[in-house]
Symmetry: C3
C-alpha cells in the first residue's frame, strides 16, 4: 500500500484486518519494522482517539512520532499559482516537500468547511498533500472520508459476527451540530467492500452521496431498518443535498432500548465521541451490547496494520 487515503487504497481488506488481529494479540512483534523511522501527524482539527491510537500504533512498530498542528505553524496555501500576499504563509508545495524530507510517513487530519460541496469533495487539503508528498500519506479524517475509523469498525464486526453476511444498519441519529459525512461515507463503502448486508436509514432529504452507498438498502423507515439487524451503527451527518445543513428536527431518531428490541440482539456501534441521550440513550450505550470501546481499542491495531503496510511498501 502506497497511501491510505480511502478504504479503496487497501489492496486486500481481509488481509489488513487479519494483520490487525495479529497485532492485537502481540502488539510488539514488529518493534523493529519502524526502527529509526518517524511518523509525522499534522492536525488541522481536534483529535483524541485518532491522535492517541495512531501514535501508539507507531510506537508499537518502533517508530518515533512528531505530532503538530497548523496552529503551531501557520496557514497553508493550496491554490496553484496563488499570489501569496494574504494570510497563508506557506504553500503546500513547500510544506509537503519539506515534510517528505523530514518524516517517513505523514498523517493529516483536516475536516470539511461544510459550505461548498464541490470544494470539500475535491479534498483540497488531503489531495494537496498527496500530490506534493514523496512519502506515504495517511488520512486521519479528511473532508469526506475517515477510513482508519472504518477499518476499526470492520475489525470489530469481524470479531463479533456470527453469520457469514450479517445485517449491518447505519442509522442517522440526531445531533446539536452539523457534522461531516466522512464517517458514514467511509463506513458504507467499507461495509459494501467487505460484503456485508448493509442497510442505511435516515430521514428523507439526508441521503448520502450515492458514490458511497451503491449496493446498500436505503430506507427512511428506521423501525423497518432495525428489524433483524445484527449491528446498529449510529451516526449523525449533515445534509449532502442542501450541503452542510444540520437539523434540529428528528430528535425521535435517537437510538433507544425500545428500538434495539426490534433487532436480532444487535451490537451497538458508534465511532465516538458520542452525545449521550441525544444520539443514543444511556440504556443502550451502557448495555453489554454496546461495543464502542472495542471499536476504539481496535483503532490502535488497524492503524498499526496500515502503518506496517506503508512501511513495507517503502522497502
Amino acid at each position: 500500500m502506497k497511501h491510505f487515503i480511502s478504504i479503496q487504497d487497501a489492496p486486500d481488506l481481509d488481509a489488513l484486518i487479519a494483520k490487525a488481529m495479529l497485532y492485537k494479540e502481540n502488539p510488539n512483534i514488529d518493534r523493529e519494522k519502524g526502527k529509526y523511522k518517524t511518523l509525522g501527524l499534522l492536525f488541522f482539527n481536534s483529535s483524541l482517539r485518532t491522535r492517541l491510537s495512531t501514535e501508539i500504533a507507531a510506537n508499537n512498530l518502533g517508530m518515533q512520532v512528531i505530532g503538530f498542528s497548523n496552529q503551531q505553524a501557520w496557514n497553508f496555501e493550496f491554490m496553484e499559482g496563488a499570489v501569496m500576499d494574504q494570510q497563508n504563509a506557506e504553500h503546500i508545495k513547500e510544506a509537503a516537500g519539506v515534510l517528505s524530507r523530514y518524516v517517513d510517513i505523514l498523517g493529516v487530519r483536516s475536516f470539511p468547511e461544510l459550505v461548498d460541496r464541490a470544494w470539500d469533495y475535491s479534498e483540497p487539503v488531503l489531495s494537496g498533500f498527496q500530490k506534493n508528498l514523496t512519502i506515504p500519506l495517511v488520512n486521519l479524517e479528511s473532508a469526506t472520508l475517515h477510513p482508519l475509523q472504518s477499518l476499526a469498525d470492520l475489525m470489530t464486526i469481524r470479531e463479533l459476527q456470527q453469520t457469514k453476511k450479517p445485517k449491518v444498519v447505519l442509522s442517522w441519529a440526531p445531533h446539536p451540530r452539523a457534522l461531516p459525512q466522512s464517517v458514514p461515507n467511509s463506513f458504507a463503502s467499507c461495509m459494501l467492500a467487505a460484503g456485508m448486508d448493509l442497510t442505511i436509514t435516515h430521514p428523507e432529504g439526508l441521503e448520502l452521496s450515492s458514490d458511497f452507498t451503491e449496493g446498500a438498502t436505503i430506507t427512511h423507515n428506521q423501525q423497518e431498518a432495525f428489524e433483524g439487524a445484527d449491528f446498529i451503527y449510529a451516526k449523525n451527518w449533515s445534509s449532502f443535498r442542501e450541503y452542510g445543513k444540520g437539523t434540529s428536527l428528528y430528535s425521535d431518531w435517537i437510538i433507544d432500548g425500545k428500538k434495539m428490541k426490534a433487532t436480532n440482539d444487535a451490537h451497538f456501534m458508534h465511532c465516538l465521541p458520542v452525545r449521550r441521550n441525544v444520539v443514543v440513550a444511556d440504556e443502550v450505550l451502557d448495555s453489554p451490547k454496546s461495543v464502542v470501546l472495542q471499536q476504539a481499542q481496535n483503532r490502535i491495531f488497524t492503524a498499526q496494520a496500515v502503518l506496517a503496510s506503508l512501511l513495507d511498501h517503502g522497502k
Copy 2:
C-alpha cells in the same frame, strides 16, 4: 499503589521517598520497568514543572509519553444522565473507557473553578476519571490537591533536616490573583502524615479546610510562627471560608530577609512559579538557604517513584 490521587494513597511515605532518593542517585536503574508502556498526560490547565518532570520520570522508566490537552480534543461531560445537547462533546465514561484501552497510566491536571466550594471539593474531574478508568490515575494537581508536589517537598526536607522532628512553617503569602488551596492542603496533610512539627500561619479569615490541618499549630501571628523554624514554606491561597476570594490586603505578609532572621536559619521553600517581591523578596529567594530548585528537581524522582509503584501494582 493503585492510584495516586492524594498523599493518603501512598501506603508508606518513607518507602516512597527512599525509592525517590535511589532514583536520584541512579535515574536509569529501572529502564526496563516501563518498557512498551505508555503514560498519558491530560492537561486541562497550564503546566511547566509538572509536565516536564513527569515526562522525564516516565522516560527514566522506559515508558513512552503522550501529552495532550483538552483543547486539542474537546470539552468533556461529567454529569451522569446528561442530555448532551450543549457544549460538551464527549462523556467522561467514554473518554475514560477509551484512555484505559490506550495508555497504561493516566495523569490528569484540572484546577478548581473557585466559585462553588462543594463542587470543587467533590473533585468532579479527578473523581470522574477515577470512577471510569480501569488503569491507574495520577493527580497532576486537581481542584483541591497537589500530592506530587508535596512528595517532592517532603523529599527535600528529608534531604535537609538536621533533627528528627524539624519545625516546618507553612506561611500564607500575598499574590495578585486568587489561587487554589491545592498546594497547602496537600503540603499540610503530607507534613502531618510524615510526623513533622507543622505550624500554619495566615491572616485571620484565611483558614484552610480543617480536613487537612488537624494536628498543626495554627496562628495569625506570622512573626511568632517563624521563631525557631527550620523550614519556611511560602504559598498564597484564596479563602476557603468566603470561597475562592482573593485579597489585595496583607502585602506585609511577604517573606523577607528580616523575617527569615527570626528562624533557626531556616530553608526557604516554594512550589514555583513564584511572584518575586510579592510572595518573597529577592534577598530570600536568591540566598543560599533557598531550596526551591532542589524541590523542583525532586519532582522528577518522586514522580518516578510514584509511576514505578503504579507499574508494579499492575503486575
Copy 3:
C-alpha cells in the same frame, strides 16, 4: 561548543559542516551519544521546520525530546528586581534554573517585538536564558539571529559550489508583513565568516545593521547585484533604521526568471516559509535551480552536528 546562540559560537564552521555532511550520509552513527539525554524545546513563537528538524536531529542522536510552548505554561519575567504583581507568573531565574535540572540541552525560539530596537537587539529572552541556565542553550531563532538556518544554508552552498569563492547575493524581497532581521543578519555573518564573496542588495533605507555586514558589497541596484551571481538568497526584512517598519513599496523587487537570467545560472535559496509570487515567482521556485528543499533537509543534519557538539562539551 558550550552554547549555540550565534554563528560565532562555532569554533570551526567547516568542521561543523563536515560533521553535518557525515550525518547526512549516516544519520544513525551516533545513536548512543545522546542516550538517556533530553532536549527541551521551548517555543514562544510558531515553528514548522525548526521544530521538526531539531527534534529529528535529537532523535538521530538517541535523545528524548520534550517540546513545549510558553502558552502551555505562562508568561515569564525577564527583568532583574521586578515586583511581579502583573501578568508574568515566573521569573526567568526560576524557569532557567528548573529547566537546567530537567533537560540536558535547551532550545529556545523567541521572535522580536519589532518596536524598540535596543530592546530587541539586547536579545532579552535568549540572553535571559543564557545567563541563568547551567546547561547548553540552542538558538531556535531569536530576536536578531537564526544561526541554525545559516548553518544549513552554508552546508547547501558547500554541497553545490563549483568555485572556491562563489558569488553569493542576499537580496531583499517584498512581503506583506514586517519581518525580523534574524535570517539576513545570521546569513550575512555566516557567509562572511565562511569566506564567501557576499553582495547584499536592498532598496535604499533598508540597510541591515553594519555589525553583520562588514566586508560585504552593498548595493541598491538589484540588477547589478545579480550579475554573475552563483547563489541568490532571497529574504524580506523590515527596516533597521526606522526600526521594525515594513513597506508595501518595491513589489518589483520580486525574484523572477528574467532577473535570474542575469546570474551565472545561480541556485535560488530561501529559508522558507516563502510567499510565492510575492517574494519569488513560481517559475523560479519550481525550477531545477531552486534548492530550498535541500536547505530545509540540511536543517536536520546541521542541527544534529550542533547538538552532538554540545553533548560532547558536557563530557
